[in-house]
Symmetry: C2
Subunit: 421 residues, 2 copies
Amino acid sequence: MLKIGIVGVGIVGQSVCQILEANKDIITARAGVELVPTIGVVSDINKKRDVSIKLTTNVDEVLDDPTIDIVVELMGGVDKAYEVVKKALKNGKSVVTANKALLAYHRYELQELAGENAFEFEASVAGGIPIISALRDGLSANHIISIWGILNGTCNYMLTKMIKEGVAYEDVLKEAQELGYAEADPTFDVGGYDAAHKLLILASIAYGIDVKPEDILIEGIQNISTEDIYFAKEFGFSIKLLTIAQINKNNEVELRVHPALISTVDMIAKVDGVMNGISVLGDKVGETLYIGPGAGGDATASAVIANLIDIARKGKGSPMLGFKTPLEGGLKLAQKGDIETRYYLRLQVEDKSGVLAKVATILGNQNISIKNMVQKPIDEKRANLLLSTHLCNEKDIKEALLTLQTENLVLSEPAMIRIEE
Amino acid sequence: MLKIGIVGVGIVGQSVCQILEANKDIITARAGVELVPTIGVVSDINKKRDVSIKLTTNVDEVLDDPTIDIVVELMGGVDKAYEVVKKALKNGKSVVTANKALLAYHRYELQELAGENAFEFEASVAGGIPIISALRDGLSANHIISIWGILNGTCNYMLTKMIKEGVAYEDVLKEAQELGYAEADPTFDVGGYDAAHKLLILASIAYGIDVKPEDILIEGIQNISTEDIYFAKEFGFSIKLLTIAQINKNNEVELRVHPALISTVDMIAKVDGVMNGISVLGDKVGETLYIGPGAGGDATASAVIANLIDIARKGKGSPMLGFKTPLEGGLKLAQKGDIETRYYLRLQVEDKSGVLAKVATILGNQNISIKNMVQKPIDEKRANLLLSTHLCNEKDIKEALLTLQTENLVLSEPAMIRIEE
């Protein structure tokens, strides 16, 4: 028997307890021992919870109890969770967490602290999809060329609604909030931060790279307009909040989260609604694709319990982030300005002759050539120029957009979405 | 350093050697030790191979060498491979195999023999997709409700060509043979046997069930006609060679391989060409989907090396088939006649009044009701009735088809394809 203490008994914590009970037969057969949730730590002891374990508000009742074998950290947040997990590891316990924010900031310190202790975190990325183990174990023979992920179900639900049903951003956000897919303050999801935390975890496993959320490009979906949706549909694109980790031509690691236009022909473009999807391109295996539920109590608990079973089977842990020794030479984070891709631009301009020529000239001066363009009138005086570029450099496009603004050729802030192929 | 002996240095064996060399930096960092292919066993020593390891025709040079840590079995076939693997395990070596036929027949004996030795086989199912580890480790908290797989790239390539380009079976087979996707004798692939071997491996991990290929329903794609393709397209279906493992309403395990009509809306229907795909439905996690290359030297070697790295990291193995102790009560294999699904039928009949009524009556007598029907004339005297049924029982439909034949209502053997939803 392994005794489990659960710190944070919310939706996921309750699911963990319920599944350990409901599926006890198969879990015990697979683990070889019974996994018994014994005690849960909560902040509000009076709140009703659908579990039969003992509850306490004192986390040390778990951390200092020598009979507790595994601590499951489901409290969320960074600082407090970090203290809890550190103490659990120091007390010799195995730890399982679903906390992506904690790992986004402290994964390397925790790997160091864990040493030979098992420290697992399958639930931290893409909920029920076993992508951590696929990347860390299943694809370990490969140099990873790229990882493209749809890792935020809230954004994917919203973007799917916008593109399939033409619903405007504000309306679909309201709907997502009513359905419980989006928080009252949706910034963490729609701003791309949640996806960025997950991206950093995957990047460490793929590339052994230690960076923080502050170091990488993160853009949200808040400024996507119905014109952008129109352009996407017109030219065979879908719009996804894409998390990208990839090696660029300088052998540096690009890490970025932003909305992207991707061809509807790509398998990953077909990952719709609240689903998550991850496409991994390995230098030897080629592309493998993983799709499934990225959130929800039971799906997340499924991943947490998979880790518990793994610990029961094997005792000691894998190298937490997949590297037993650092990669020789290491890999550097690419500069944000060095991104090279195609771009979609939405420019609000005066609807009069000569404007288009000036815009094209300014773009041309930065070596940016136009691939497709549509002009959509707004009223008698103004129009939106919707255009896509050929491959160019992020620095150049930013420079061109700045020039368009300083020369007063655009009537409002230009919008830009990267096109990924 | 771990020394590796490779038994069978064909396409995959050569890829294993080449990748261990080409990706040595990242493999060593992930494994913590260098993985060194040292000796290869071949049947024809004079055949040119693109590897630099020592070659021998004497397998005992590997099996009896105490300095060899891991034996990689890539010789294929059942009986000889079984002897080699048995001896390797008895001599205390870890074993990695890609041999699905061996596992289809001997996986339980081998699990017994392996004991605490590592015995891994990620490459045996779906090539580069880490589906063994996803199912055994990632989804271990779940009762598996169903596994639907597209596990044979040859068949999927052929069926995709047939449905997308209208190419006839014989022509696409010839083309697949020219491209090297199909063998000169294609029976093992197009007859469904290759997929069945893989299915049995997955079924053991999901259900702990010990059955042999002879025990299960296996039908190939050889009889799929252009009429069937026409019907499929007309009613929104794709045709796939589907491997199914699922729990039926009697809580028994259905295991079957056969062509199936599936809705084009299903994600797995979008797995086209030589790709493999597996949809797993867990009772808690819901559906997760895995897509990637199911064959090819490098993709298969990627899975073999992932196992090598895993062994280097962890030493002792997981429970080979995922169960530390047998599932209480166990699960029984469902009878073939107990399948309940929808069916598509192709019946060649005389084109005269009264025939359709008689056919409908015979079906109705077995409680089979028709959902869709198309009548396509063949010549002035004959027509094909193409129809789909509502949900019914396999025993009933077989009985009805027999009656149609004994009463001479059909002019040739009726064709039947299951519709899976």
